[in-house]
């Protein structure tokens, strides 16, 4: 099985969408890989892609090529992974904040969360505070996940938190922010409950916050 996962990993690093889809089908056919194993191989692949970007070997088109291969594979793997682990339940509202239209990372996270059993309502990009809050109320969300790729969206994040406090819903809804620019300090400054930079950390944060909610 690890050979198939390694080939899957290589396809993602090389940004070969056809091959990543082929390997996703092979994973399903074998039927042995657990969702955790798949996410681990995926996380490692994206780390390699990230470090190649840092060293100047990859640029944004190459990163997008890899991200597309992940998206394609996740679309195939989602039902397989859902069957094997849907113990993580919860309702999540998600979107990219106002002033930001980056969506590729968000789309991958949406796939991963659905594959893990969450009910995810993806509002899209450039979403206003009101739209987020209205949707949170409508679906009685457990968590609000805010994608904010750049540091210039800090004000939008703070506005959402403050509005939730004014509306009296802040205590019932866990807020997670995510994006390449995020750090512990950034998360503390905007007042969210957790932050994440990739699939693995997103799932870990969601699991922790849902456990806190249930406790």
């Amino acid at each position: 099985m690890s050979e198939i996962l390694e080939q899957f990993q290589l396809a993602v690093i090389q940004g070969d969408s056809d091959r990543s889809a082929e390997m996703a089908e092979a994973i399903i056919a074998e039927g042995k890989a657990t969702p955790d194993e798949i996410f681990d191989f995926l996380a490692e692949a994206m780390e390699v892609v990230g470090s190649r970007y840092e060293t100047g070997e990859y640029f944004i088109p190459e990163m997008l090529r890899s991200a597309e291969s992940v998206e394609k594979a996740m679309g195939i793997l989602e039902p397989y992974m859902f069957e094997r682990r849907h113990d993580q339940t919860g309702v999540i509202v998600m979107g990219t904040v106002k002033g930001d239209i980056h969506n590729i990372g968000k789309n991958i996270i949406v796939s991963a969360l659905r594959a893990s059993g969450y009910e995810v309502h993806d509002l899209g990009v450039n979403i206003s505070t009101d739209k987020f809050i209205n949707k949170v109320r409508e679906v009685n969300a457990d968590m609000l996940m805010l994608s904010a790729f750049t540091t210039s969206t800090k004000l939008a994040l703070i506005d959402i938190i403050k509005s939730m406090e004014r509306e009296g819903i802040r205590d019932h809804v866990k807020v997670i922010s995510g994006g390449a620019s995020h750090s512990e300090e950034f998360a503390r400054e905007v007042g969210v409950d957790g932050f994440a930079k990739d699939v693995k950390s997103t799932l870990a944060v969601c699991r922790r916050l849902m456990d806190e909610k249930r406790a």
Binding site: G15, G56, F59, I60, P61, E62, L64, R65, E68, K98, G99, I101, H102, N103, I104, N126, S152
Partner: protein
């Protein structure tokens, strides 16, 4: 020499009295000089012209940028733009979903709706004493905007022919806007090609998808006015090819070492830059501004062919004293 003469001397390869100072003050920063919100000025060209003129008058630099946001309402080549509530106009939808949509591409009419009137207003305010630059997007930047940056860059591998055809289809838009700016009275055209920075795409992709359209556009526009080619962040790996486009001036950002840049391009083009707008002008102290200006002058002033500038737009939260310091120390260290 007055400000305009100063810039013209540099463009002609002559030594001016002092290095011209033309920072990138545009719709991000200028509105606050007249106490207006950014979106207010982006929605109202006359307000923007007033703001840009007021900023130049306040800080006493040599040239003003007619960055009217010709991409602002109602659209950029057919793509809807959202302005209200934002610090900058945001293209919220795209018109090119695929090859079949190429025919939907609109060539703008820069004169429609009085859009050039604010440019003329700014030219009038600058008078004969100050230099006016007008800004236009490159064909590559237009193409990325109408396709959506993410899809556009994904197409580099997914459908490279579409990328080439789309960039080529956007050349008329760059030309028509550039020509209109000159007719409205600007002294030079700034061609913004921000997405070709090697902070975003490889030098190979720059050559493959963007460079030819730059050359084609600049060949036409430079017959009307000098062209400034603007690429933000790291442009060092592509600088020699940028110098071969026909642009008279290369506007470079802070990651580029000015000494290395001059070595790379010689004296065949003017270098404009490259004080860090964020780290120095926005977040630095007055002492940081002085040091940055002094070092830039030491690197690029000898022999002329240099215009002191920020590498990119001055952010709205930059302290007034830092913008003042940029000009003050530019004058102090810029004398020939």
């Amino acid at each position: 020499m007055n400000s305009r003469e100063r810039v013209l001397a540099v463009l002609a390869g002559e030594i001016p009295d002092t290095v011209p100072i033309v920072p990138v003050v545009d719709g991000y920063y200028a509105p606050k000089v007249i106490g207006r919100a950014n979106d207010e000025c982006f929605l109202n060209g006359a307000c923007m012209a007033e703001a840009l003129a007021a900023a130049r008058e306040k800080y006493k630099y040599d040239g003003v940028l007619a960055e009217m946001g010709l991409g602002t309402p109602p659209n950029v080549l057919g793509c809807p733009v959202e302005v209200e509530g934002n610090d900058v106009p945001l293209v919220v939808d795209t018109v090119i979903g695929g090859r079949a949509d190429l025919e939907k591409l609109q060539v703008p009419d820069p004169w429609a709706g009085g859009k050039m009137e604010p440019v003329k207003q700014l030219v009038a305010a600058a008078g004969v004493d100050h230099f006016v630059l007008g800004s236009v997007r490159s064909p590559f930047e237009y193409a990325a905007t109408v396709r959506g940056l993410i899809d556009f860059m994904t197409d580099f591998y997914r459908d490279p022919e579409l990328v080439r055809d789309l960039v080529s289809a956007c050349v008329p838009a760059t030309l028509v806007v550039g020509k209109a700016l000159v007719e409205a009275g600007v002294d030079a055209i700034v061609m913004k090609d921000s997405f070709v920075s090697t902070s975003m795409i490889s030098p190979e992709h720059y050559l493959q998808f963007a460079w030819s359209a730059e050359v084609e556009s600049i060949a036409v526009l430079k017959e009307l006015a000098p062209v400034v080619l603007h690429v933000c962040r790291n442009s060092m790996p592509i600088l020699t090819r940028m110098a071969e486009t026909g642009a008279a001036v290369l506007e470079i950002d802070s990651p580029v070492d000015l000494v290395a840049a001059r070595d790379a391009v010689g004296d065949k083009v003017v270098l404009k830059g490259n004080i860090d707008a964020a780290a120095v002008i926005e977040k630095g102290s007055v002492a940081d501004v002085e040091q940055a200006v002094r070092l830039a002058m030491a690197a690029a002033k000898p022999g002329g062919r240099f215009i002191l500038s920020t590498g990119d737009s001055i952010p709205v939260s930059a302290p007034e004293e830092n913008v003042s310091a940029l000009v003050e120390f530019g004058r102090k260290y810029g004398r020939y």
